[in-house]
């Protein structure tokens, strides 16, 4: 089974982690890649601009009901939850989940419910436990679960919480995550790894 989407969650320390990950992704990366990075709800548009400059793939904050495109990076807009429906985004202003809006759990759970085992979920550095439940859901649907090695994380709490809740498939130091995604999502590798 080949993958159709990559979802990534990051919190404290995520800015430099995402910067490295995006810089190392292949310019031919074939899947949509969706990121929740926690930030203040009154933050300006700086994060999107900053990451866009460092990404070789087009990077945008999606509008409601926008279509997911392969090879695009999507950043959850501030102060909204970002959910995925059948190949489109849906936004919501429901209550923050575990103090977070956008919430990593909300994104991951919605991705698992639509794409089942064709999801790769990645948890990066962070100082809370958001994403642990979402990653467990991805695992329950048979998706591939990846967590940044807590030893390599600026803040290990979020990776540790994810590892504690789920028997994750791969624990990788940050510099190996983008190469891993490049390999597993490459059209030929996707055939080799078919289960």
């Amino acid at each position: 089974m080949s993958f159709e989407i990559v979802v990534i969650g990051a919190s404290y320390g995520g800015l430099s982690a995402l910067q490295m990950l995006l810089a190392d992704l292949s310019p031919e990366f074939p899947l949509p890649l969706v990121i929740v990075q926690h930030r203040r709800k009154d933050a300006d548009d700086g994060l999107c601009e900053y990451l866009r400059k460092r990404s070789r793939l087009p990077l945008i904050e999606p509008n409601d009901k926008e279509k997911l495109e392969p090879g695009h990076v999507y950043l959850a807009p501030r102060d909204y939850h970002l959910l995925i429906e059948k190949s489109i985004f849906a936004l919501s202003t429901e209550s923050p989940v575990a103090f977070a809006r956008p919430s990593i759990d909300v994104l991951f759970e919605s991705a698992a419910a639509i794409y089942h085992e064709r999801v790769i979920g990645v948890i990066l550095t962070g100082a809370n436990s958001d994403g642990a439940r979402g990653l467990a859901k991805i695992k329950a649907f048979g998706g591939l679960t990846v967590v940044q090695d807590p030893k390599s994380a600026e803040s290990p709490a979020m990776p540790e919480a994810a590892i504690q809740m789920t028997a994750v498939d791969c624990i990788l130091p940050l510099p190996q995550i983008a190469p891993f995604l490049n390999e597993r999502c490459h059209p030929i590798q996707r055939l080799l790894h078919a289960r």
């Binding site: 509008n63 919501s92 698992a112």
Partner: protein, 282 residues
Amino acid sequence: MSAAFPQAEQQNELEDIEIALLLEGLYRYYGFDFREYSPASLKRRIIERMRAEKIETVSRYQERVLHDAACMERLLLGLSVHVTSMFRDPEFYLTFRRKVVPILKTYPTVRVWHAGCSTGEEVYSMAILLQEEGLYRKSLIYATDISHEVLRKAKEGIFPLASMQEYTSNYMKAGGTREFSDYYTAHYDNVIFHPSLKTNVVFAEHNLATDGSFNEFHVILCRNVMIYFNKALQERVHNLVYESLSMFGIFGLGNKESLKFTPREGFYEQLDDRDKLYRKVR
């Protein structure tokens, strides 16, 4: 269906079927139509409400909702509360002051419709803005929502004291000209907004999914409401808004909503590059 992880997939599929049945029952018995809501967040909220009622399956929840009107009201409330703030996205209100207020000043009267006003945060924000711009006395604001309970809260104008720091900061960024605390009185953990802000506000039940146009407006604000609807229902509401706006009337959407790819896209001009304020031009 893949056989590798049948449990999660089967549960997911079964819940989708149960939710479709619940929505059908809710519509046919109570007249509330959520069948064209955006499915992902709708499902989240139904499951959340169901857990709060300590019920295990959507089918059992359906039974309760259909036989117990109070349980239905709680579900309706859960489905209609959008957690918003006063002067959410302050730049939107700043642009409104700069680009819309001068237009409204030329009108003898101003009718504003807040479609999907939820608990009223944005209604009070607009009332404050219109007061400061000298427009309030000739304005009438219609604030509508589907839930009776949500409207009751909106009418009260009571908000948590803990939110005031954020709202004050928003108010200032939105171009506020006074002290924000002039507009409310604190009482223990809450504040109550001055009743003068709602003298020209009419709170009324209106369902964007099933009801029609009820007046002609100079300004319609429907921010972060249609994000809960699927494309088909969004199109219905875009048509309803268009029919309810006077020529050159103003339409305000949320920051991540767009008129692009809607049936009325060509009928408006965007007033500002950034903020989602449109003017009906044909």
